[in-house]
Amino acid sequence: MIQVRGLAKSFGDFTALKDLDMTVETGSVYGLIGVNGSGKTTLIRQLTGVLRPDAGSITIDGVPVYDDIDVKKRVGYVPDELFFMGNYSLNAMASFYRGLYKSWNEERFRAMTESFGLKPGQRLSRMSKGMQKQAAFILVMSAMPDYLILDEPIDGLDPIMRKKLWGYILGDVADRRLTVLISSHNLRELEGICDCIGIIKDKKLGFEGKLDELQNELSDMSLEEIFIYEMEGRNDE
């Protein structure tokens, strides 16, 4: 379980997030949504221990994430903008990951590389953007993390790759209770995949809960309608 309590983060005199609480249950697929610039990436960078919160706490299974190597090894992260080391190939990255993650699954690495049709010997810098994203997913999913954090991950992948990728991710959710946190603007796609959602509004989590309960309450609104309703509707009344 990921627990965030009273989180605050400012950059200079700009307050990005304040007093944010969030709970992501183990085995759930949690959709984090919010308008552009609402602080989704700032929150995610703190969840992954890249950024340090100004105040509040973030724990994964009770352990604070910032500066904790053991927790970080259980978390797979695919950022919005990818970064690959120099002239590495997918194979070279795999041996790097293999040394880093005890849970590395070589069989899955081979199966995914083949299924996605990537050449493991090719330099990543020579690959197209979409292929680089596929490579990042292959590496993360082969590390068999307990938690998967995805920052607007799907853009740039074609529908066939997306379906394949979701097959792997949801398979892990079913088989070994992988916990997924995903931020995206593709609400149609999130609607089927997520069972929980959190909406960032006014620098904190304006809403958090089970998607099906929310849809029951709001007479089967789509996620898109719910989002607009939460951002505009509820406060105006």
């Binding site: 997306r162 979701w166 949801l170 398979g171 959710v173 609607e191 995949i193 069972d195 099906d212 089967d220």
Partner: protein
């Protein structure tokens, strides 16, 4: 396998429940045939496995399927109770289609004749 309609007013959970029912009604899934596992169905439809599990539980509750521990979910021999909600919803769909036929100039008697014929044809199938 049925397709999900992400633009539909129906929730995904309901679409899965109704989709499975339709496959059973049409005979695509026969009595005692095994349904795809939650995991398989989740990958097939790209839907959260918890939602599939919920849909299967509902189908079991309503007597459409039964589960065998460790082996999966199977189609029931016959329904224990008629599903009035489903029946009403199908009649509504037929009503809407008949409205379209009327607009296209098909007379009431012809519709009834054709419906009888369809009913006879299907009656022998299942």
């Amino acid at each position: 396998m049925f397709q999900l309609d992400l633009k539909s007013r129906k929730s995904i959970y309901e679409q899965i429940v109704d989709g499975c029912k339709e496959m059973i009604i049409c005979g695509d899934l026969e009595p005692n045939e095994k349904l795809p596992s939650v995991r398989e169905m989740s990958a097939l439809l790209t839907v959260n496995p918890n939602t599939i599990q919920k849909a299967y539980s509902r189908l079991e509750q309503d007597g459409w399927i039964y589960t065998v521990t460790g082996r999966g979910a199977f189609v029931s021999e016959e329904l224990h109770e008629p599903d009035t909600r489903q029946i009403e919803s199908i009649f509504e769909q037929i009503g809407a289609l008949m409205g379209q036929l009327r607009y296209l100039g098909v007379k009431g008697e012809e519709m009834i004749e054709r419906l009888k014929k369809i009913s006879e044809e299907r009656g022998t199938a299942r």
